[in-house]
Subunit: 295 residues, 2 copies
DNA sequence: ATTATTGTCAATGTAGTGTTGACAATGAGA
DNA sequence: TCTCATTGTCAACACTACATTGACAATAAT
């Protein structure tokens, strides 16, 4: 066993609270995780975990070991980065998390470019709209709508995405289209339940006056992609991020609704751990998405 | 190759400026030293050393690597010590340096007791009266007469050794013995060239008056042990540390000369690197010799 | 009560290990 | 200038360790 592999294995078990999950994270068999943890314990002459077949508890020594191990591993990575400087490209596995639709439509298409820039990196893209425990899942950097209120994390603002309203031409023919947000009350509206606004849709008039409209909705879905498909299928007026419907607006499958009014803008943030040393691979990725999204 | 073994190997090569000396220090073949250094360089993608068959030069990257590697290795050791706490005894190799005679007569006899206290330690005792480069020779702690004026080192005072004058009964019968230091000028004196005083022997009278006597000498030797043997063999009056001749004084082979007068006292110091973290094995040894020499 | 899952263990085919001896290159000494 | 000794590197090799796989006892979930 490599000494640092032993450290990493213990760290993974602590953070995932599971030998099995640790083996998944590390890409080794769970038998090897078990073996490595045992070897570290033997070398130190102490128990790091108390465990039965289905329970795992960290000992005090294990807690101390973990706290110092993560510092050591970080410093080892920092040393390698400092020593190699600009001479070498970032390498290893970079685990990125992003919201599903954004990841599919905006981030995934960019990744070949990123990989071309850094061929020694391996990317693992984890798309989810649910909550994420970055530590437990070993996520290096997470793109998300909105920042986080966590002092252990840095929230780096990348860009803003405006929300827009749209409906199909056929819906327009059948129901007409509202000329002011107030008229939305008489229309079928499609709710994206990922957003907290629900049925209270906020607007700013061309004159700058803010107002909130209660809309009717027979459909709520936690996927902007699905919301767009419903709108295209004459299902009503959808409020989605601009980029979701950009192509459908361009080719006429959807029409803008009350385009002179603006509604919300959501900020896109990169979230990563607040540490003295930020791994080169993380820094390179953040620089890349900053560059890509600032165009 | 274990990652930390790679670090240690590079550190040993830097500190000894030699693959061969590094292999001696580490107890592995020089081929393996060469292989490990090569593996570290491959993993980093940089050169640490520029080398021909007979020349070795550290690159800038190598210098940075070395500086960070020693910190990492120290912190790893500190982590192990901190995590295991008092649960485990110190282990590994402890390299101690001491002056030859002192080492033979006073330190070596104590080491079985130390080893009995800490059976997981391996001791390497390096006896020399010459200058020592602790870094190059990988010495953990050095006992020496007198401190050092080096801000990178700690000089921990252990005890004082007084110098005493002695001669054999047969010499006394043949030449008489001086009753004051002034009379030493008429006697054969044996010079220990380890001391800087040479032929200018300093004394303090019973009344506290300091004086320096020019003595005659037909013999100088850089071994207090040899000086004592010459004195026992009727060769003259020797000035040696008390402990050198304690047994011969006790059993009558040597007689004290001008015992009412005092001369120099030399301080015995433990010298070890000034670091935030002092290895447990070094701390245990220093505590041990403090305890042994304060009796 | 049954099923699924966890962490551990031993068997196993496979890969890597570290030493040895040889070598080219170079510095020291005569 | 020639010879010898030493250094760092390389490849061969017998040996050892490796990490996975499958099985298992124990336990939680259904």
């Amino acid at each position: 066993m490599d000494t640092l592999d032993g450290l990493k294995t213990v760290v993974a078990v602590v953070e995932t609270n599971s030998f099995t999950a640790a083996s998944d994270r590390l890409g080794i068999s769970k038998a090897l995780v078990s073996k490595y943890v045992g070897e570290v314990e033997n070398q130190l002459g102490i128990r790091l975990f108390n465990r039965t077949t289905r329970q795992l508890a960290l000992t005090d020594s294990g807690r101390r070991y973990y706290e110092e191990a993560i510092i050591l591993l970080e410093q080892f990575s920092a040393m390698v980065d400092n020593v190699t400087g600009e001479q070498t490209a970032p390498r290893g596995l970079l685990r990125i998390s992003a919201p599903v639709t954004f990841g599919e439509m905006r981030l995934a298409p960019l990744l070949p470019k990123f990989i071309a820039l850094y061929p020694d990196l391996t990317i693992e893209l984890v798309l989810t709209n649910g909550a994420i425990d970055m530590l437990e899942e070993g996520i290096d950097v997470r793109l998300r709508i909105g920042g986080v209120d966590d002092s252990n994390m840095i929230a780096r603002h990348l860009t803003n995405f405006p929300l827009v309203l749209s409906a199909s031409p056929n819906y327009a023919k059948q129901h007409g289209l509202p000329t002011t947000p107030e008229q939305l009350g008489e229309h079928h509206c499609i709710i994206d339940s990922n957003f907290r606004i629900g049925k209270q849709w906020p607007f700013i008039s061309p004159k700058g006056r803010a107002e909130t409209i209660n809309v009717q909705s027979g459909l709520a879905v936690n996927s902007p992609q699905a919301a767009r498909e419903v709108a295209i299928a004459d299902g009503g007026i959808a409020m989605t991020p601009n980029f979701i419907v950009a192509d459908a607006l361009a080719d006429g499958r959807l029409l803008r609704v009350v385009p002179e009014y603006t509604t919300l803008e959501f900020g896109l943030f990169a979230i990563y751990p607040h540490r003295k040393y930020v791994a080169k691979k993380v820094r390179c990725f953040i620089d890349f998405v900053l560059d890509q999204f600032s165009k």
